[in-house]
């Protein structure tokens, strides 16, 4: 039966409008023209540098605001340069890979994954930053300068560092349970047990973010297997099924296998993101006593909480294993250059100076690998402690997952992140080692 005429027309119009609106919305997301550095003048003098620099990094929210202040400092020096900063958040590898593939990368990017930088350099997508080598060697220890090199060419400048070998705890809960910050792994497990008996889970695990789990593994592996093995595993020279890996996973099971000792249980942990894991550990109604993460934990504290360093939250070094020397596992964001322009060069040079780093240092939540940064600029003793440990560690190793091909080490929902989430769900060291080896082999192919 046919319906009377007239109505389908209106319906059609409505549908067309809807489809068009949806198409428009979809279109908006995709194609942000990555900023052409138009009109860069030839004037080499600092005050004459003009133009626009586009820059992408993972920093968003609070961190973005703090970095913007650093950029404001740049603006004071180069009033004619406009820096357009875009945050790509966790999706930075995706955003950059796509932009490079499409031939439209930003001028500069701050990349937390050395593996990704290596990949870009191999494809010829990066411009060397040796023009700034003088400033960099003056301000950085040789170790950090070398971290920025790929096959001897300087591509990266570490602007921001992170000490990931720290454990943050709620001092009030430690006091209730009558425990002190532990120094050895045995003490650490004992403290966790006592905390459980006092009625509060010891661990706040951010299982929805796979990287928090890989960090925990890397800390345990670096200490239990030693730095040499660490380097070999990072380069995939030994397989993930190596006994040292299975041993580290077994040690990790002491933590993740203690199900009653994890806030929210395993189901809860698997949907807890990092900021939530921090928020639920500190404040009025704490749900757990410790967060096993790096020096950036205080930046994730709720902004309105007015928590006091040393009273409401405190930190201890990740516990040591036996006689092993102090080892710090950490990370950093490397500034790399995709497109050369005087304005971009000026910004790279600026970011290598202690003055630029101090702007962020003073705002807190920032550890600078820059050795000339004034220690007094750090807001509180805790940050000074973790930042100094980063600079003075006998052994420093870069976050292993960041050294991997992105598909294995830094991708949401696959590779290491996914395999360790499965390990949290079902802590079976052997099976997990096999899955890791399978995924690593695929990514290194």
């Amino acid at each position: 039966m046919r319906r009377p005429h007239g109505h389908p027309g209106r319906l059609l119009t409505l549908l067309v409008a809807l489809v068009a609106a949806l198409a428009l919305l979809a279109g908006c997301g995709g194609d942000d023209d990555g900023g052409d550095s138009g009109g860069a003048s030839t004037g080499a003098a600092d005050t004459n540098v003009k133009g626009t620099v586009s820059m992408t990094a993972v920093w968003s929210g609070d961190e973005e605001a703090k970095f913007q202040k650093v950029l404001d400092g740049f603006k004071d020096r180069y009033p004619n340069v406009t820096v357009r900063y875009t945050s790509a958040g966790d999706q930075l590898p995706t955003v950059l890979s796509t932009a490079v593939e499409g031939g439209n990368p930003p001028d500069l990017a701050a990349v937390p994954q050395p593996g990704l930088v290596k990949g870009f350099a191999a494809r010829g997508a990066l411009k060397p930053i040796d023009f700034a080598e003088g400033t960099i060697t003056e301000n950085y220890s040789q170790g950090w300068v070398d971290q920025g090199k790929v096959d001897g060419t300087l591509y990266g400048l570490y602007f921001k560092g992170a000490n990931k070998s720290t454990v943050w705890f709620n001092p009030r809960l430690f006091e209730d349970a009558g425990v002190e910050p532990p120094t050895s792994w045995e003490e650490f497990l004992q403290v966790a047990d006592t905390l459980k008996d006092s009625g509060v889970p010891a661990y706040s695990i951010a299982g929805a973010d796979g990287w928090t789990l890989t960090d925990l593994f890397e800390n345990i592996y670096l200490r239990s297997a030693g730095p040499e093995k660490y380097d070999q595993l990072a380069a995939h020279e030994i397989p993930w099924t190596d006994p040292s890996v299975i041993n580290a996973l077994t040690l990790m099971k002491d933590v993740l296998g203690d199900r009653q000792n994890i806030a929210g249980g395993i189901d809860g942990a698997l949907q807890t993101e990092f900021p939530t894991s921090v928020a639920q550990t500190f404040g009025d109604d704490p749900k757990a006593a410790m967060v096993l993460e790096g020096d950036f934990v205080p930046t994730a504290l709720p902004a309105d909480s007015n928590l006091v360093a040393g009273e409401d939250y405190d930190v201890f070094d990740f516990p040591a294993f036996g006689e092993a020397p102090d080892a710090v596992m950490g990370a950093g964001d490397q500034i790399v250059m995709f497109r050369d322009s005087p304005a971009a060069r000026a910004l790279v040079e600026y970011l290598a100076t202690p003055e630029a780093a101090e702007i962020w240092v003073e705002q807190g939540g920032f550890s600078s690998p820059n050795k000339n940064v004034d220690e007094g600029a750090y807001q509180d003793d805790l940050t000074r402690q973790t930042a100094t440990a980063l600079a003075e560690a006998e052994t420093f190793r870069f976050d292993m997952s960041d050294l991997q091909p992105a598909a294995f080490g830094a991708t949401v929902g696959q590779g290491m992140w996914k395999d360790f989430q499965d390990f949290l769900r079902n802590p079976d060291p052997k099976a997990t080692a096999q899955r890791l080896e399978r995924d690593a082999a695929r990514a290194y192919r």
Partner: protein
């Protein structure tokens, strides 16, 4: 690629007359040219390129034939995605159409129908991604954060009020059991004995305010005495031993049972945690704490866990699209001639019969439009899955479009396999699209 639906909306070329035919053709061509160029650049070329790319490997250098398609149908995560997508198509369009129909029919009859319609249509005004973020928070397992679990928790606490203590564990092997079934001492006690029931894992803040330090009671003839206490003091303390600084647990119901389990008497603990059963006949008894003491607070439904994630995402999706279905079906409803309904009623049809035999058949074309639109939408569902499902369960919630994005852009950067998934998705959409185009043609 899925935007191919736009072609269907292109206006039909008007019929031309014989005179000046060539000129008119030129004019038509000139008018069509911009659209044709844009469509060519943005739709046709990328589509063809995607098909070509799907036969090449990850880097795009080597031709590998249908290997990518073979991977597509053999890799577990991708098969999960295909299976989930099938589930989506089977469930969601039908539910959205049904709910839209129910809302449309009901709103015709209520007084504040406009307000109701606005409320139901409102989710259409926000992006699917934002809707996903909203539901992501609502679904949180922790009742303190997730609105849904907070609601269920409030109701369940009202039905079954929580006990004095929420969580506790036996502090030593002398005590057996758990909070679910209650605790009981392993060894029997005879009159004159002392029952020590140490519990641990209790937060200091949960100990009742009137609690005092626990006291180990003296044995009394003909009486079973005992103490229930928080067997913990800063640093841990010795398990199973009443020590200074450990707090008694008042208000706990303690039962005296026969070894077989039959209850003899019960009593409540005093502020120092002690209790006594007087005038107990000779024999062996068991001392136990009933489960009533420990109603655990509601733990939360694991909406975002592996098992419930796909239904949870579907629910969020239906919430968004029900308004669209309601408005479109409502418009169709308004166009139904009233006299037909009146005639049916005059002939003695019940309201249900009118609905079944008159309204629904007359609405069939509109229902079909809604249904087909939803099938297309659901086939390419993407953003809401990405935003609702936490990364830890994205493999379980995976759908084809999400699998494509994760393969091509999610770090693996396998554009070959990604293209193959895209082509597969395109092939799935084509029949539905063709059906839709035919419908539009017929209606004109």
């Amino acid at each position: 690629m899925a935007g191919g639906g736009n072609i269907a909306a292109a206006p039909p070329v008007p019929r031309e007359r014989r005179r000046g035919r060539l000129r008119e053709r030129l004019v038509a061509g000139a008018f069509l040219l911009p659209a044709a160029i844009l469509l060519g650049i943005w739709l046709v070329y990328p589509a063809l390129n995607t098909v070509v790319r799907s036969f090449y490997d990850r880097s795009g250098d080597a031709f590998i034939g249908i290997d990518n398609y073979r991977t597509l149908f053999t890799s577990d995560p991708l098969l999960t995605a295909i299976r989930n997508n099938a589930l989506w198509v089977a469930v969601v369009p039908a539910l959205v159409t049904a709910i839209g129909l129910i809302f449309a029919v009901l709103t015709e009859r209520i007084r504040w129908s406009v307000a109701f319609k606005v409320a139901v249509f409102m989710p259409m005004a926000i992006s699917l991604f934002a809707a996903g973020v909203i539901w992501r928070v609502m679904y949180e397992k922790e009742p303190d954060r997730g609105a849904l679990n907070a609601t269920i928790g409030a109701v369940s606490d009202w039905v079954d009020p929580p006990g004095v203590l929420s969580s506790a564990r036996a502090s030593s092997p002398a005590l057996a059991g758990g909070t679910g079934g209650g605790f009981a001492l392993r060894d029997t006690v005879a009159p004159g004995g002392v029952a020590l029931m140490g519990l641990t894992g209790i937060r200091a803040s949960e100990v009742p305010d009137d609690a005092r330090d626990a006291v180990r009671p003296r044995p009394e003839p003909g009486t079973v005495t005992g103490v229930v206490w928080r067997d913990f003091r800063p640093g841990g303390g010795r398990p199973g031993v009443v020590e200074a600084g450990e707090s008694g647990l008042p208000g706990v119901t303690v039962e005296l049972r026969r070894p077989g389990g039959a209850r003899v008497a019960d009593t409540r603990t005093a502020s120092d945690g002690t209790f006594r059963f007087t005038n107990v006949a000779d024999g062996d008894y068991r001392v136990a704490i009933g489960p009533k003491t420990f109603a655990e607070p509601f733990d939360g439904v694991n909406w975002l866990g592996q098992g419930l994630i796909t239904p949870a995402v579907m629910m969020a999706y239906i919430w968004v699209w029900a308004g669209f279905a309601m408005v479109v079906i409502g418009a169709g409803l308004a166009a139904i001639p009233r006299d037909l309904l009146e005639a049916a009623r005059t002939d003695g049809a019940s309201e249900w019969q009118v609905f079944r035999k008159v309204t629904v058949p007359l609405l069939a074309p509109v229902l079909a439009v809604v249904f087909i639109t939803m099938v297309i939408n659901v086939l390419k569902v993407f953003d809401i899955v990405l935003s609702v499902a936490p990364a830890s369960v994205q493999d379980d919630a995976n759908v084809i479009a999400l699998a494509m994005w994760r393969t091509a852009f999610g770090g693996t950067n396998d554009f070959g396999l990604g293209s193959a998934i895209a082509v597969f998705l395109f092939l799935l959409v084509i029949p539905v699209l063709a059906l839709n185009v035919r419908r539009f043609r017929r209606e004109q």
